[in-house]
């Protein structure tokens, strides 16, 4: 009897502790949920009265802000296409072709990509982009992201392709298909879920990032939303909080939607310790 009572109190204590930690995580986000809908929003927390979409109108009328979102889309889409296509071809080759030392290649690439990270790489990446004359271009941002994300994308996809039986493509080839046909018509449809995961992961990574566009871009009309928002609040003497709050929410929407999509479709899982 006392044991059950003990378990009961443990459960209550655990719930109270969990709720307290939950509040710690929620508090900084509460402002971000209310402020976009409050036409008189300040840095202070207040429940909007009345709820209003006026702040969003201000954002839609602000050319610089909208261009930031468009640039984010261009850069993320460009990066995702390169990562998706490059990783699919490369990891298929690593999984199915007789190239020697395939495992070693995968591990060495992964090693390089975790060693050459944002802060260690910012100087040489800037110099390389400067050297090939691509400073202050969107293509530079796209190429740098594609290169940086590819090793991890290949690692995830190779794992995925290795788990698919070769007999699919083999039977197609027995029926007379060329290896390239077998890849496009047979393997690709089966690999598609893996590609979707990689593409979503790459999109979220590029969409949310700040450092690379911050050091590679100079002119304001090429800046993605991350750099645009930062210049809103760091350079404007008093930040226009209403605009910033609504813009932050708009900018976060794709990430939230993609997260919901992935956890609905695949269940939120880990892929080699990768932040999705």
């Amino acid at each position: 009897m006392t044991r059950y009572l003990g378990l009961y109190f443990t459960r209550i204590g655990f719930s109270a502790a969990t709720a307290l930690i939950g509040v710690f995580f929620a508090l900084p986000l509460v402002w971000f949920i209310f402020a976009p809908f409050n036409p008189r929003a300040e840095l202070g927390l207040s429940i909007p009265d009345p709820f209003s979409l006026a702040n969003f109108e201000t954002v839609f009328e602000n050319g610089f802000a909208m261009r930031g979102l468009w640039n984010s889309l261009v850069q993320s889409a460009g990066g995702v296409i390169l990562v998706g296509a490059g990783a699919t071809l490369a990891s298929y080759a690593l999984s199915r072709s007789p190239i020697p030392g395939k495992s070693v290649i995968t591990y060495i690439l992964l090693l390089f990509s975790s060693v050459v990270s944002g802060s260690a790489a910012m100087v040489p990446i800037f110099l390389i982009i400067n050297g090939i004359g691509l400073i202050d271009t969107q293509i530079a941002v796209i190429l740098v992201f594609a290169g940086g994300l590819l090793p991890t994308a290949m690692f995830i996809l190779r794992d995925f392709i290795d788990s698919i039986p070769k007999s699919y493509e083999e039977s197609a080839m027995v029926a007379g298909a060329s290896p390239v046909q077998a890849f496009f018509d047979v393997a690709l449809p089966v690999i598609r879920p893996g590609i979707v995961v990689v593409v979503v992961w790459a999109f979220v990574s590029i969409w949310g990032s700040f450092l690379i566009p911050f050091i590679l871009l100079r002119s304001s009309e090429k800046m993605p939303a991350s750099v645009a928002i930062y210049s809103f609040y760091s350079e404007a003497g008093t930040p226009i909080v209403t605009l910033l709050a609504a813009y932050s929410l708009l900018y976060s929407l794709p990430v939230i939607i993609l997260y919901l999509f992935v956890s609905w479709k695949f269940g939120f899982r880990f892929f080699g310790g990768i932040k999705a």
């Binding site: 900084p28 840095l43 072709s97 990509s113 100087v123 040489p124």
Partner: protein
């Protein structure tokens, strides 16, 4: 029997080429380039921008100069600050809080579990600029949410970013990153057969005893993985820059922010590259250790 391969060697190489080129140009080349630049006095402007001189180890001597090593705003001080930041925010903050949360989540009602997971994951997935701005509002002196709560509880308000900048970025990084450890440990705990815990219940074990004698030993491998990854991420994180820009007076200038200032504010690429090399060497140690652990696990040596 020789295995029948689907792709010829030539097609395989062709398939590898696009990714290989991009990785070569923007991952492998920077690795060697940064080492090369660290031995020069390359700058952004002036003669040394186009025609840098070879200066040998001069940049490294200036980083590890004993006279200035501990001076605030210099490399040594920034390195020590970074180590403290990683230990406090990643190892103590993210890993310990993530572990506690994951353990608590095993036995709380489903709705509370989902709610807590949602806010923690929200802190983790939202774009860094947005998060930084939300924290800016949270910590604001005049109207911030935190001071509102402090006043409601009868405490004096604080100008957190000015008075406790280092603790502000430590708590910030803990808040931002705990979700990863929480999810990793959560899935590790749920993979333990429930019968183990039921047996312990029958024996009258307390929750702490179950954690210490069953939970923790069985997820030891995951703890190692988690610690390596979050240490590496926190060591390289640039996000605190968005909150404090490294200030006030260099008190939050962790190495990534220090590198940025040396290279892109002072335009001293040679010295910035030398910092990059040191950071890469430290990353290399962690990454090699991680790969070693993963390979051991893949071979089934460790749990």
């Amino acid at each position: 029997m020789k295995s029948f391969s689907l792709l010829s060697r030539g097609t395989g190489v062709a398939f590898l080429a696009p990714a290989g080129l991009l990785i070569g140009a923007f991952v492998i080349a920077p690795f060697f380039w940064v080492i090369f630049v660290s031995f020069t006095n390359r700058s952004l402007l002036g003669r040394t921008a186009v025609d840098p001189d070879f200066v040998g180890l001069a940049n490294y001597f200036s980083l590890f100069d004993a006279a200035t090593f501990f001076t605030r705003g210099e490399f040594g001080s920034s390195l020590i600050l970074t180590i403290e930041f990683v230990l406090l925010s990643a190892v103590v903050g993210q890993a310990a809080l993530g572990m506690l949360l994951a353990w608590l989540l095993q036995s709380v009602p489903k709705s509370l579990k989902h709610l807590t997971e949602t806010v923690a994951i929200g802190a983790w997935i939202l774009p860094e600029v947005v998060i930084a701005f939300a924290w800016f509002a949270f910590l604001d002196y005049e109207n911030g949410t935190l001071n509102m709560i402090m006043e409601a509880l009868g405490f004096p308000p604080g100008d957190w970013l000015l008075s406790f900048p280092f603790w502000a970025i430590v708590v910030f990084n803990t808040w931002r990153g705990t979700a990863f450890s929480m999810m990793l440990f959560n899935s590790a705990f749920s993979s333990i057969p429930p019968s183990y815990f039921q047996a312990a219940d029958v024996a009258g074990a307390s929750s702490w005893q179950k954690f210490r004698d069953i939970g923790l030993p069985l997820i030891r491998g995951h703890v190692v993985t988690d610690l390596i990854l979050i240490t590496m991420w926190s060591f390289n994180v640039f996000t605190p820059f968005l909150l404090t820009s490294g200030g006030p007076s260099y008190r939050t200038e962790i190495l990534p922010i220090y590198t940025y200032r040396i290279a892109f504010r002072d335009f001293d690429f040679g010295k910035g590259a030398a910092v990059g090399v040191v950071v890469m060497l430290i990353n290399l140690v962690f990454a090699l250790f991680y790969l070693w652990v993963m390979r051991r696990r893949a071979k089934g040596v460790a749990a």
